[in-house]
Symmetry: C2
Subunit: 194 residues, 2 copies
DNA sequence: ACCTGAACACCGTTCAAGT
DNA sequence: ACCTGAACACCGTTCAAGT
């Protein structure tokens, strides 16, 4: 005799994300997710293989959201420098909204928890485009990597409290945007050195 | 009647670091540490308050090692651009040697696991100095933050496998060094924009 | 003064038995 | 076909009892 479904994979992932942000990764227990979703813990295993897979699904959902946010931010400006700034600010705002989920994107961890490569690539497409517009097509990949590396590192350090001492953090972020935009635009200069 | 000490805090932290690198954070169990150190798990609580403190001690030991490595790398070159490159390469080499420990430095986590702010500041002194030499004293902090943010982000992404697609990663890292060195040196240019 | 066995709470996961 | 109680292995941690 069939039993009505009392939850769904989507609900489990959504609740998992809330729990992750509220209680941290250690607070993301199968028991806690089950409680909030209205079933007993063993029932979760009908929807996800195990906790590692749940972590991966949460990470991928976060990546998808981030990609959406970046695509929206890229809709406004038309010149490359404004686009870079808009994307960087959207990136940072998103990380502040979902710090724990954001961290999982590039965190090491058991293999089963790591997001698919495709998800990461898809979400970073807007950035690859603007990098091409800024630094030229054959420098696009290097420029995009430099930009994301900087933004990602800045935000990781900020969230870890490494910028607590001295100075306006918003201004420091703006300084980085200016510095990198200028540098990646000035292709002759960058190539003359090294 | 006193009992001879069968281990030490130093041995526990050293074994903990090995275990962390070999098995990941999830493999760093009190049981596994106790086995390798030659005592039973409850004895560890005579040396560390709990597992969170052990994680913190491991992180701080890693930070100290990193600072040492950076100080050694800074001993050679005399001109600012060569110094930046030497520090960046040493930073990356260290991260490749201790990826799990490196990640803990800026990872979120239970409060008890986070390293002291002093440890982070002390280890980044060499970088603050070269940033000053490169960008001028009043831009030193911003420049140092931009450099560490980029290097840290680059390495996080690299270790997370986000650079698997396309291109020579070593060359991409060198590209970033060149780009940032040039940009932080060219103070007029950076200030003219934005 | 440090060490250990025993015990407790908690967690991930499996599975037989329910509907 | 999904749900649950019971059970198992494992983990962090405490503590009384040893030496």
């Amino acid at each position: 005799m069939p039993t009505p479904e009392r939850t769904s994979r989507e609900a489990i992932v959504a609740v998992g994300r809330e729990l992750l942000e509220a209680e941290g990764l250690a607070g993301l227990t199968m028991q806690a997710v089950a409680d909030r979703v209205g079933v007993k813990a063993p029932s979760l295993y009908k929807r996800v293989r195990n906790r590692d897979e749940l972590v991966r699904l949460i990470t991928e959902a976060t990546i998808d959201d981030l990609g959406e946010e970046l695509r929206k931010a890229a809709a406004g400006p038309t010149d490359a420098p404004s686009l870079v700034a808009a994307l960087a600010l959207a990136f940072r705002a998103f990380a502040h909204r979902f710090p724990a989920g954001f961290h999982l994107i590039f965190a090491p961890g058991p293999v089963g928890t790591r997001p698919s490569y495709d998800a990461i690539v898809a979400s970073s497409l807007p950035l690859l485009e603007v990098a091409g517009a800024l630094a030229g097509p054959e420098r696009a990949l290097d420029a995009a990597r430099t930009l994301t590396a900087w933004a990602n590192g800045f935000i990781s350090m900020e969230l870890a409290g490494a910028f607590n001492l001295g100075g306006d953090v918003d201004e420091a972020f703006a300084f980085g945007i200016r510095t990198l935009t200028t540098a990646l635009q000035a292709r002759e200069v960058a190539q003359a050195v090294g």
